[in-house]
Symmetry: C2
Subunit: 541 residues, 2 copies
């Protein structure tokens, strides 16, 4: 079976295309001063790709290692691995800019083959950029490789075996090339689940999750991806490195934590040992409404404090709630809206909660949590909203394609902060985005939701919609992103809660981890990758 | 108020001395071939200490930094910081061997003072050994400092402030010199708790917990100490390093994990930001009995799988259960034993469980867990046993003093393994200890309990009792420890679950983390401590 692939200028295949309704179009005009137009992507598949710089001798050596079928220098193969899926990536691609492609794609079939590829690339001074699903949004695939003779994209797709299932210990060892749905369907046969469902779920790989410290929609309950990893194997230019041992060890610092989030700069993750759990028998999703964001945040904080957090908790701010209602646009929703307005939830905040466990536990926990939520003036609005969220949980990037086609800027950014800092981080980031993206007659729509809740704080995920500056679309977003990042860092937010660093966040890394933190990472990189061929430019800039 | 201090040759003050009853003495003779005798410790306080090697110029400079009162070269000050509390430490001390003392004790009063002390020690080539509570059991205070001009013990006792309490975000920033009870009593005023209760609780410090990746008796519920830390500040020879940000970040590898467990080799932890939680309103401890160890392990595994683990879960093997019954020796216990024998629990296994939460949660969870435990043939034996465990939870090291006074070898060692590997790790470790410590007419008593339970596995904590070889007591234990360590590593156990590496485990570190893991740690150390003055010999050997 052929796997579905990301399109070259957007997200999924064309049969998932979304149309904007007339009422949404009208609303966008009014809301942000959108100038309706059609801005289709260029047909990049027919743009000629630059000649490969891979030396013939290297090519021959790589073929020797991985086989003829698994070294590719054709245009389509290189295009597929040449960019992630950030707004900047897509704007570039849609404009026909396919610069920065890797010179070749290599698909090793084993850990040892990865080691051999790395050794050869060291010898020939070829940069190596690991490739998983290509869904990253921080420039993790497009690091500056100018200091090396050529760039190879090392696609882990063939490292997709499930090597062992220890159902007794709930530990599964698997290759980094497996996508979420492939892994989950294998686990389902054993009544197990991993429980990691980021928005990129359909395309992203286990290796990508690990390399970027991913968080998924259910991470409030199941834990961030880093918490789901018990061990990893890394192929580095200087050899193999196995890190992590379940269940726990006190033998020195945590080296697994050094590999998770390393974004390819230390080598290639070739194997992961994952903590799975019994698949939940019952799943229950429902919607609630809070009269205001502060009430909603307080409700979530109290749930965390009482250890009553659901597995999924997403709280939208008033603007996101309002936009959701408009975008869904059903009559049912309209009558619901009237009801909430009558209850004083006029500028209300939608909360989606999801419970996944055995039926008895779901029922007990849901009851206790519901009674707590009511104490913070939340009103239950039922399962329809929850089911609708569930049905659309991966649809955001498809909708984005439709918005990009009609002259809109659309992008997300995210952070996290302690409960004490969260309100100021929210206000400052929102203000910075609005200020940066407002011009006479036009203002952005800045929407936000809490996507992950912790006892100590929560994450904030912003979605920005604005009329695109057709003359300088990149510049328009870069300035807004810079303003937002400065704002959130200055108020105590983290640089990124689940999008990783890539090249886009690299300029701010030392703000987050300090100069000595950067120096320590450099020391580790220098030890494992002395010639600096591993994903150059990423993380460190 | 003067703080209680560890005695120089054992654990606590003399008023906590334990007496062995006649029945216990009789039982020890029969069980292990003990030859009753009195082996009191030498009065080490009156053994002359070696002259300090600290150069006068260094001494003057350190006094300049921390003040006259806080640089000490007197014998008692150096003796107090010159050894941990492992069996080997105590045997050496009790025999009058006080070699390896630090040349001076320095007590800085702030992060900046620690930085200045480190800088001066770099300049003068003085090794620096951080000192917290002195309760370590792996030789973390006695690293080989022969390559340096002198050794300074850097006691963090004065870094004992609580710098901030963010009750909203459940984050508390505190100095590393605070002991558990001091910290908990401060938290109690705010209705908060940290929940970290290792056996060394009365004397150990927050800094020590962090430096050694400690686990406590309630870590099954509250999490290992590493999970309770949100941030740390490290003073290194090359400057200050702040690591970790709550609630979560995806900005590169986890550098906090590099500091936790670093055992002083990268610098000195001068501040910790801890995740606290509301103090539980209800606490419920009780005992259960399983007919066998395999049944008990299966019961615990199923509790973990069902997410019904209590906050405290300790399962003793048949020999530890039997020894506990003999050592407590009450009539009540004897009738209980008869009852269990009648139920087929002749060689039964005692399980202590503890629940800490609000009363409703305790009741719901306890009921669900109890019904599951019964499915694995467990019999509830009531709260008395639980309360008795609670009352004696810190008494082990005091009892050890009494046993050391009468010619016994007594020591613990611990590991952890996945559920699949656990039975073999248990058998192999036990066999290795018994084999190594048996001589004609004498055999050790090897007791074991599961102290921490995880979804993927559990820890095993062994306690060994044997008649001491008075001629070669060190050698006797070193051989047994080596045999046990080789056995547990070969079967998939971790080198240490909560005792850290020190110098005692250093020879095996590369078995656990690989040569490349050791190389990465060296690279980090070389960056932060280029002249190698920080706790030399520890971790790396």
């Amino acid at each position: 079976m052929e796997r579905a692939e990301l399109s070259l200028t957007g997200w999924g295949p064309a049969d998932n295309a979304h149309e904007l309704s007339n009422s949404v179009r009208k609303w966008l005009r009014r809301e942000i001063g959108w100038n309706p137009r059609v801005t289709p992507p260029e047909a990049v598949a027919s743009v000629p790709t630059a000649a490969t710089r891979l030396p013939d001798s290297t090519s021959a050596a790589l073929i020797e290692i991985v086989g003829d079928d698994h070294v590719r220098t054709d245009g389509p193969s290189r295009l597929r691995r040449g960019a992630g899926r950030s707004y900047l990536d897509l704007i570039r691609r849609r404009g026909g800019d396919i610069s920065g492609l890797p010179d070749a794609v290599v698909l090793p079939g084993s850990h040892d083959e990865v080691l051999s590829v790395l050794r050869r690339c060291v010898a020939d001074d070829i940069a190596v950029v690991p490739f998983g699903g290509g869904t990253g949004v921080v420039g993790g695939l497009t690091g500056g490789a100018d200091e090396h003779r050529a760039v190879v994209s090392l696609d882990v797709a063939r490292l997709n075996a499930i090597d062992s299932i220890d159902a007794k210990s709930l530990l599964v060892t698997a290759g980094p090339g497996l996508r979420g749905p492939e892994f989950e369907s294998r686990m389902a046969r054993y009544g197990l689940t991993l429980g990691h469902f980021p928005q990129s779920y359909e395309f992203a790989t286990l290796g990508g999750y690990a390399a970027t410290r991913s968080a998924g929609q259910a991470s409030t309950g199941y834990g961030r991806f880093a918490e789901l990893v018990a061990g990893a194997r890394l192929a580095t230019p200087v050899g193999s490195w196995q890190v992590g041992r379940a269940p726990a060890s006190a033998a020195g610092p945590d080296l697994l934590g050094m590999v998770l989030g390393s974004e390819g700069v230390l080598g290639v993750i070739t194997e992961l040992t994952l903590r799975v759990r019994p698949a939940p028998e019952a799943k229950h999703y429902e919607g609630w409404s809070f009269p205001s964001l502060p009430r909603g945040l307080e409700g979530l904080r109290q749930l965390a404090r009482a250890e009553l957090l659901p597995d999924i908790a997403r709280l939208s701010d008033p603007d996101e709630t309002r936009a959701n209602i408009v975008m869904s646009g059903s009559a049912k929703v309209n009558s619901l809206q009237a009801l909430l307005r009558a209850r004083g939830h006029g500028a209300g905040c939608l909360l989606i909660v999801g419970w996944e466990a055995d039926p008895g536990t779901v029922s007990v926990r849901r009851r206790a949590a519901s009674s707590l939520l009511r104490r913070y003036e939340a009103v239950r609005i039922g399962r329809t909203v929850g089911q609708s969220w569930l049905a659309n949980r991966y649809s955001g990037p498809y909708v984005r394609d439709a918005l990009l086609d009609v002259g809109l800027l659309v992008e997300t950014l995210e952070t996290a902060a302690s409960w004490s800092d969260l309100p100021e981080v929210y206000e400052a980031t929102r203000d910075a985005l609005i200020h940066s993206l407002s011009v006479p007659g036009k203002q952005p729509l800045v929407m936000c939701h809490v996507s992950h809740v912790y006892p100590t704080g929560a994450s904030l995920c912003f979605t920005v919609l604005a009329d695109r500056d057709d003359d300088r679309p990149m510049q328009q977003w870069l300035l807004a992103k810079r303003a937002a990042t400065e704002a959130l860092l200055s108020k105590g937010g983290v640089l990124t809660h689940h999008h990783a660093v890539g090249i886009d966040h690299a300029p701010w890394l030392s703000r987050e981890i300090g100069d000595l933190g950067v120096a320590v990472l450099h020391a580790v990189k220098d030890r494992l990758d002395p010639t600096g061929i591993c994903n150059p430019g990423v993380l460190f800039g």
